[in-house]
């Protein structure tokens, strides 16, 4: 073993390289991309999202062109995101639950004791990653799916109503959902618990409330996070009850913000 080669101690030098947040963001970025699960999650999102959109468009293009289905064409062009969103939930959860699961959170908080800074850095890195991944996924899905739709003469151009909004909206929805899962992760601290709870909320509860009678069922349907937030990611919808794209996204963003705020309070108060 080599003898220690350390310089004599000195008072902690004022660190160069910007404010605490930018350093924390750099650290979180290195963390995010130095584990395999991130690459797999993003690859799965693109493959599932773009692949399933292309597949469903290939399967339904003829029937849609015949006008026999009565379904809006624009609801299919980002259809794969229904499944791709699972990966956003997983990635969002993992950014915090993997740290609690391994004890890493203590190293994180020793390096950056300001918990608000840690939370902001994690949120920024996750948002950027999921936004880009979501937009790329939706764009590739549009490329693939639209080839089949165009062949039947019912293609949707980028200039068409709501298409660009849907591509960007896919990124926004993925980022929002990832943040929602991250906030849930801070509260539940277990990957399995977060993924089950958030997916149950989006897939199961979000659809079950439609069965409730009258205005109550209608409003709960409008307000459930998955229903409110995902409308922005498609030019048209199968479900006419849903809120308008930006209205729905505003509701979803508010829900994410509330959960994040609760998580931030708990995270700041709790011992690591």
């Amino acid at each position: 073993m080599t003898a220690p080669v350390l310089t004599p101690p000195r008072a902690a030098a004022a660190p160069s390289g910007g404010a605490g947040l930018s350093r924390a963001v750099r650290a979180e970025w290195i963390k995010l991309w130095s584990v395999r699960s991130t690459g797999w999650s993003v690859a799965a999102m693109v493959a599932l999202g773009a692949g399933l959109t292309t597949l469903v468009c290939a399967l339904v293009a003829r029937d849609l062109a015949d006008g026999q289905t009565g379904e809006p064409v624009g609801a299919f062009i980002t259809w794969g995101l229904v499944f791709a969103q699972v990966t956003a939930v997983v990635l969002g959860a993992l950014t915090v639950t993997s740290e609690y699961g391994t004890g890493m959170i203590r190293a994180t908080l020793a390096a950056t004791p300001r918990r608000g800074t840690v939370l902001a850095a994690k949120a920024l890195v996750l948002t950027a990653t999921l936004f880009v991944a979501g937009v790329v996924t939706a764009f590739l899905g549009w490329l693939g799916g639209n080839a089949f739709l165009s062949a039947e003469g019912i293609g949707i151009g980028l200039g068409d109503d709501g298409m660009v909004r849907s591509l960007l909206g896919s990124g926004l929805y993925m980022a929002g959902l990832g943040l929602f899962a991250m906030a849930a992760g801070l509260l539940l601290r277990s990957t399995a618990a977060v993924v089950s709870v958030v997916l149950a909320l989006v897939f199961l509860v979000g659809n079950l409330v439609m069965l409730l009678p009258g205005a109550l069922g209608e409003w709960l349907t409008k307000l459930m996070p998955g229903n409110a937030g995902s409308r922005i990611a498609a030019p048209e919808t199968f479900n006419p009850v849903l809120l308008e794209p930006w209205t729905g996204f505003a509701v979803f963003a508010a829900e994410v913000a509330v959960l994040l705020a609760v998580a931030a309070v708990v995270f700041t108060r709790r011992d690591a």
Binding site: P9, A27, P113
Partner: protein, 306 residues
């Protein structure tokens, strides 16, 4: 310098750390000694702000850890070897830590070399042995070249060569003028490493003194003698100033060594059947001290709350 002042941590009903005060000075290795569950780790977690004290304060070089703009440059800590993501490589682990405190990347390579992990730097740490994980934890603690180093049970899982290496490292760090706090539940290890001891039991400080003082005070030795004339020998020894307790034909003598005892007996014509020296080990002294921690804490309040 680490200064803990009436530091207290309560988890529900349980008082894990109970009004603990001590000072860890630079330039020497301070051993933080206590049985498992005594409150060592909790105290160390409070030093670096992971746990919030119920009351009391702890500062590092006059400031709260959390207020440091780049805490890894102020305090290097090894708290748990396994505070690592198993899927990340050793190098990546050190790189994110370096980035978080604006520590130059070259320093990552430096500490990897320092702990002897260069060859496995790009392996995922999930495959590391306990000892390799411990070395990585120490590399992380030294990353910011901090003037204060806190190591919680650093020799856990290390082989004998690794244990010697940690011991040397701790002593070298102190010799460079750093403040070094090393915890252990092994008295023998601390006796070899530490210049100063803070002994803790059931959340309270039981002793805060130099290692030499601790050994002198607690690792008692006494002479045993067996003789057919116990009363006569006891009288002789007492007259010479020793403490004697009798048990049949056996005497226990404190305050006189085997030479004095033998010569006294010979001078008076007392027959000896047996003459021996019994030294209680430091480990035993430590066990006795911590087992009776309540009485000790009550008996030595001046030292506890100074």
């Amino acid at each position: 310098m680490i200064v803990a002042s009436r530091l207290t941590k309560r988890y529900g009903e349980r008082l894990a750390v109970d009004s603990v005060s001590f000072t860890v000075r630079p330039g020497r290795v301070t051993g933080f000694l206590g049985p498992n569950g005594a409150g060592k780790s909790t105290t160390m977690r409070m030093v670096i702000g992971l746990d919030r004290p119920t009351s009391g304060t702890v500062t590092v070089d006059g400031a709260r850890y959390a207020d440091s703009p780049a805490p890894l440059r102020a305090v290097g800590a090894l708290l748990e070897a396994r505070a690592l993501h198993p899927g990340r490589t050793a190098r990546a682990h050190l790189r994110w830590m370096a980035a978080s405190n604006a520590i130059p990347r070259a320093r990552v390579e430096e500490v990897l070399g320092l702990v002897g992990l260069e060859a496995v730097a790009d392996q995922r740490v999930g495959r590391f042995s306990l000892g390799m994980g411990q070395r990585l934890g120490i590399a992380a603690a030294l990353l910011g070249d901090p003037p204060v180093v806190v190591l919680d049970e650093p020799v856990n899982g290390l082989d004998p060569e690794g244990i010697r290496w940690v011991r040397t490292l701790a002593r070298d760090l102190a010799a460079e003028g750093r403040t070094v706090l090393v915890s252990s539940h092994l008295m023998a290890e601390m006796a070899l490493t530490a210049d100063h001891l803070v002994v803790i039991g059931r959340g309270r400080v039981l002793a805060d003194c130099s290692t030499a003082e601790f050994i002198a005070e607690h690792a008692a030795s006494f002479v045993t003698v067996r003789t057919p004339q116990p009363a006569q020998l006891a009288e002789l020894l007492r007259r010479s100033g020793a403490d004697v307790t009798c048990d049949g034909d056996e005497l226990r003598v404190q305050g006189a060594d085997t030479v004095t005892t033998g010569e006294l007996a010979a001078g008076a014509g007392v027959v000896l059947h047996e003459l021996g020296l019994v030294t209680s080990s430091l480990e035993e002294a430590f066990m006795t001290l911590t087992a009776g921690s309540v009485e000790y804490a009550a008996a030595r309040p001046a030292e506890v709350t100074r």
